[in-house]
């Protein structure tokens, strides 16, 4: 019996393909308990081979059904698939109803598949990091493709999807306002569009609306270049001028229509990222973003731990009373920890 109570025991079991160990590791990381950090440290060097696929879009567009179909297609090619399905935590109760597995029942009983449902929980800004760590764990466990499903409503959900190598934005006809997605900034992160529920009326109109958006420009991951700007990043040469134009694929996920073409597009994009050097760019920018976020958290924790809470409260009070501005107050706190 492997010892699943220690980090080294868990990692050893995970590397032998023990799925219970994998599930436990994910829980430790989600709970951010005492084992989380040693586990992440041990697993991080093992990861990096998986191709990460983000799937996002409005509620009910058919993301989970599509993920089910995509995973089946990958399995037919002999590729193993890890799936992370993220759903929102209720802000009222702190609980969550995670129902994406309902649409993934075709994947049951396949040892080449591992599905994990995740709630966003309350962690401010930490959601993207926790999800990235869970995805990294599946990567380290050897899954060739890792699919991340998030509901594309909040900023952080969009952010999670955009940290994948290939991001699929799922649209469906009949959602009413086509411009809604554009406002939320969701179109800009798409590498591939899926217009699902193409069996329904209005699918062609949705495709046309997207084509018009693409013709107007402004899509295709340009914004990713802003992500790592706070840390120096040694980037490979700029991508070739014949860049990637996000293709639009009509799908009927419930009838497995259009899925093969969608998966082909994913693989084509994967090839494009590799040949253009963009995969390296994205991986480095992700590393820079991750490091910056973790550094910020660490320094904040350290500062807060080094100064008596009463002193900080007094400064907060002074800022609120406009006796001091928040910038000077922050400077003062930082000065106290470095002197």
């Amino acid at each position: 019996m492997p010892d699943l109570s220690t980090a080294s025991g868990l990692v050893a079991a995970l590397n032998e393909g023990n799925r219970r160990a994998l599930a436990r590791v994910i829980s430790h990381i989600e709970n951010n308990d005492a084992l989380a950090q040693p586990l992440l440290a041990a697993l991080y060097p093992q990861a990096g081979a998986a191709h990460l696929i983000g799937v996002t879009g409005a509620p009910g567009t058919g993301k989970s059904t599509l993920v089910n179909g995509m995973a089946l297609a990958f399995r037919q090619q002999g590729l193993t698939v890890g799936i992370v399905a993220v759903d929102p935590t209720s802000p009222f109760s702190g609980g969550a109803l995670l129902g994406d597995r309902v649409r993934m029942r075709d994947l049951a009983g396949d040892p080449g598949i591992f599905i994990r449902s995740m709630a966003t929980r309350g962690s401010l800004g930490g959601l993207a990091q926790t999800t990235a760590d869970v995805v990294m764990t599946l990567d380290a466990a050897g899954f060739a493709r890792v699919i991340i499903e998030t509901v594309g409503v909040g900023q952080s959900e969009v952010e999670i999807a955009s940290t994948a190598h290939t991001t699929i934005v799922v649209e469906a006809p009949g959602l009413g306002d086509e411009v809604q997605a554009i406002k939320a900034g969701i179109l800009e992160i798409a590498d591939i569009f899926a217009v699902n529920k193409a069996d329904r009326e209005g699918a062609d109109r949705t495709v046309m609306a997207l084509q018009m958006m693409l013709a107007l420009g402004g899509t295709g991951h340009q914004q990713i270049l802003h992500h790592g700007r706070m840390l120096p990043v040694d980037l490979p040469p700029a991508p070739p001028a014949d860049g990637w134009t996000p293709p639009i694929h009509k799908t009927v996920a419930t009838q497995n229509q259009g899925i093969a073409a969608l998966v082909e597009a994913i693989e084509a994009h994967r090839g494009y990222l590799q040949h253009s050097g963009l995969r390296q760019t994205r991986d480095r920018l992700r590393a820079a973003t991750e490091l910056r976020m973790i550094l910020r958290d660490l320094l904040l924790q350290r500062t807060l731990a080094a100064i008596p809470a009463a002193d900080i409260a007094a400064l907060v009070h002074a800022v609120a009373a406009r006796e001091i501005d928040p910038y000077s107050a922050a400077q003062r706190l930082v000065a106290r920890t470095t002197s």
Partner: protein, 133 residues
């Protein structure tokens, strides 16, 4: 630390109505649990696999077809095969009184009939997880 109680809600067997199970799932969410809902027609192996992957603290079954005496031992066995013998099993549904002690012997920790107030189930789960098994 951001620990949450995770519970799998599954409907084994062939009856296709899951309104009751969904009501319970929502109520458990509203009580602060992370509820993994898997839907209808789950085989014992599917339930055990989902419980393992999701690393749940509790497995809740909803059985309204009356087939609980046949289904429960199979689910319990599948959980044990998956190494999940320690995960408490709860049962919701229409269960005649005389079956309850037998179900307890089969390893079901709690049986809840229709209309059980959710608060009772929630308290039961909290107690179940507090006490060492």
């Amino acid at each position: 630390m951001d620990r949450k109680i995770r519970i799998l809600v599954a409907k084994p067997g062939l009856d296709g109505h899951d309104r009751g199970a969904k009501v319970v799932a929502r109520a458990l969410r509203d009580a602060g649990f992370e509820v993994i809902y898997t839907g209808i027609r789950q085989t014992p192996d599917m339930i055990a696999e989902a419980a393992l992957q999701e690393d749940v603290d509790v497995v809740g079954l909803s059985i309204l077809s009356g087939a609980h005496m046949a289904l429960v031992p199979k689910v319990r066995e599948a959980l044990t095969t998956a190494g999940l013998e320690d995960v408490p099993l709860l049962l919701g549904g229409i269960v005649p009184d005389e079956d309850i002690p037998v179900l307890h012997q089969m390893g079901v920790r709690g049986v809840f009939g229709p209309g059980t107030p959710t608060g009772v189930i929630v308290d039961f789960i909290h107690n179940e997880l507090r006490e060492p098994l």
